[in-house]
Assembly symmetry: C2
Homo-oligomer: 242 residues x 2
Amino acid sequence: MAQNIYDKPEFFEGYSQLSRSVHGLDGAAEWDSIRAVLPDLPGKRVVDLGCGFGWFARFAASQGAASVLGLDLSENMIARARRETADETVQYRIADLDRLDLPEASFDLAYSSLAFHYVEDFARLVATTHAALVAGGDFVFTIEHPIYMAPTTPMWTTDGDGRRIWPLDGYSREGKRTTDWLARGVVKYHRTIGTTLNTLIGAGFAIRHVEEWRPSGEQLRDHPEWAEETDRPMFLLIAAQR
Amino acid sequence: MAQNIYDKPEFFEGYSQLSRSVHGLDGAAEWDSIRAVLPDLPGKRVVDLGCGFGWFARFAASQGAASVLGLDLSENMIARARRETADETVQYRIADLDRLDLPEASFDLAYSSLAFHYVEDFARLVATTHAALVAGGDFVFTIEHPIYMAPTTPMWTTDGDGRRIWPLDGYSREGKRTTDWLARGVVKYHRTIGTTLNTLIGAGFAIRHVEEWRPSGEQLRDHPEWAEETDRPMFLLIAAQR
């Protein structure tokens, strides 16, 4: 069972103050990249795996999705998502992605934003998602990039010349990583890009797009402090098709 | 035009002393991983892009390939390859992968080992290779891993606790990298995994396997000094299909 870190009060409070929690999709630096690989949404049946406050669920509904099912482990997040959603095409349900159960061939799009790195059994999740999609259905998700996840000490440091470096180690040693981010003892699961892609391919998905997110030139003009994001990628975006 | 580093005397001499130059395919740590994703070879028409001393070309012929065309920019390497190859199904030719020209739909397998990171125009090479393969043909290649290529100073260092770290920077800044390896001023071209995969997908290839090479348990028992290879991957192996 995945750790329910989002219902720890200090984590929930910290997460609620992030730009993406206050401003929604437009507050997420990687949103433009995600949107560029999303399929057309009108008439689509969508499932959002790790829906959080429901920003994407409401977006999908506003774009004409026929139905949106938002799933999340956090009672706090589902409660806020329900409060902020008036559209009846959107439904929310509490669910553990490590024990996910979905009806077969029932969705046209499975979407997930920054949730799968909390999932221990990724192969099970991928097989369940593959079965839940119709033939030709899309699977679009982001995770923390494994370069970001892997290190013993995932924080910028400097080399002997004072140059900012990302202290990579343990990249090929997959498995649990425990870090302190918003709360102590946040448990994540590191997998290489190779493992992530081969798991998708092995389940029957075709890989459509792989993006190691970096800020655009426009974003760097608006946020010069994001320059460090070009030294190591923080997010990995994958689009696949059943 | 790609830099012809292999014909610099000090580079060629150093390269000739590497395990993979002395012992051939079995002297290359990543060979078992490559072999696991190769298609059956009997009857196949094979092109080896950057064939070096011809180890793989002779292997493919010994496995029953119908024909093998080995291409390399280095006159020294092609000369040695010809000297060491008796099999008439193998032909060698000097060629620059940045200006590659191949007949259309003429090969069942395009293979390349650790050559494409010297190529500036990867998209052109991939399009040419796609056109040269028959439908269903295989494309199997290795490159230096972009994590290995990217840094300003691609050498192990230690953090404040004395832990071995790989000083990653510049991962998202693609383009030329000049390093000193066997000779001064070796020019390579850094591309992210995302760019490499999207270039293949965009040309019409289906991605079959992506492996960020790490030593096996058996290899670590035989070569304990390879433990550092689990801290950052040195090679990237990709199998794709037209």
